[in-house]
């Protein structure tokens, strides 16, 4: 492979020839094999130098420790959720008569905000929209509303629901569970 511009007698042509030749020779590096065997180690060492917090003596130990942390976090969440569910299922299913009476009094006295609906279904939907909880809680609330309706029906209060901790899972749900 020769360069036609090469002409030692003409400095400008020679300069161009050398420029082209160097460019062509550098272009041959494109197909040169690249050794990446030490690349990972060099990147890791560079990261450790710039971010001392991630420094660890053994990357395998670091990986195992990270996996253990994930397992511990998952176990903790599972235990908390199981505790909440067991606690909810072990409580009385609906409000007691005394609680219902208290709620009724509060409603009549205007101490509790009341939303008026025309049916049990609407009341349930309203409650579900507001509390966004488990299905069993919605059914439990429906049962509680049932009791309220029965009690205040004669006073033209067609439906009302109250969201709060007083509503607990129903007997039906506990049986199904």
């Amino acid at each position: 492979m020769t360069n036609e511009n090469h002409n030692p007698a003409n400095p400008q042509a020679d300069e161009k020839a050398w420029d082209d030749a160097v460019s062509a020779r550098l272009g041959q590096l494109r197909s040169a094999p690249v050794d990446l065997s030490n690349l990972r180690a060099r990147i890791d060492s560079q990261i450790r130098q710039e971010h001392p917090k991630v420094r660890a003596k053994n990357p395998i130990l670091r990986m195992i420790w990270a996996h253990h942390l994930q397992a511990i976090a998952a176990l903790f969440i599972f235990v908390v959720l199981a505790g909440v569910i067991i606690n909810a299922l072990s409580n009385p299913s609906i409000a007691s008569a005394q609680e219902m009476f208290q709620v009724h009094d509060d409603l009549v006295a205007g101490r509790i905000p009341v939303s008026r609906v025309t049916s049990i279904e609407d009341a349930t939907k309203s409650l579900v929209d507001s509390i966004v909880a488990f299905t069993c809680v919605a059914r439990c609330a429906q049962g509680a509303c049932h009791g309220l309706l029965h009690e205040v029906d004669q006073r033209q209060a067609n439906g009302m629901c109250v969201a709060g901790p007083r509503w607990r899972p129903c007997d039906d749900d506990r049986r199904q569970g």
């Binding site: 492979m1 030749a21 460019s23 041959q28 590096l29 690249v34 050794d35």
Partner: protein, 113 residues
């Protein structure tokens, strides 16, 4: 792009080139023939001695064959700057390589540009 660390220093050229890469000693040799006498690691070693701005331009323009506009966009400089740096970088590379080629008698003083 990652370039391998050069395994052969320029000084090691004193130890001789592989026989099949030695260009024939003629009175007037083509620049490409002379450059073919250098191995890839030797070219990379010379390239690594260039200033950063010129080395990156040569890597983009000559090695990676990017056009001047793309290289200018990547490096955040004007296209004319790319052309200028490429030209000066090649000249520097040539000045780095030629004395070694001369020491090895790959070229004569008369051939030296």
């Amino acid at each position: 792009m990652v370039l391998r660390k050069s395994q052969v220093s320029l000084d090691s050229m004193e130890d001789g080139l592989p026989d099949d890469r030695l260009p024939e000693k003629t009175e007037s040799r083509d620049p490409q023939q002379i450059l073919e006498g250098f191995s890839d690691p030797q070219i990379l070693e010379a390239l690594s001695q260039l200033p950063d701005e010129m080395r990156w331009v040569l890597l983009f323009v000559d090695v990676e064959a990017l056009d001047h506009a793309t290289a200018a966009a990547v490096l955040g400089v004007a296209e004319g700057t790319i052309k200028s740096r490429a030209h000066r970088g090649r000249a520097m590379l040539r000045r780095l390589l030629l004395p070694l080629a001369q020491d090895r008698r790959l070229i004569t003083d008369a051939e030296k540009p």
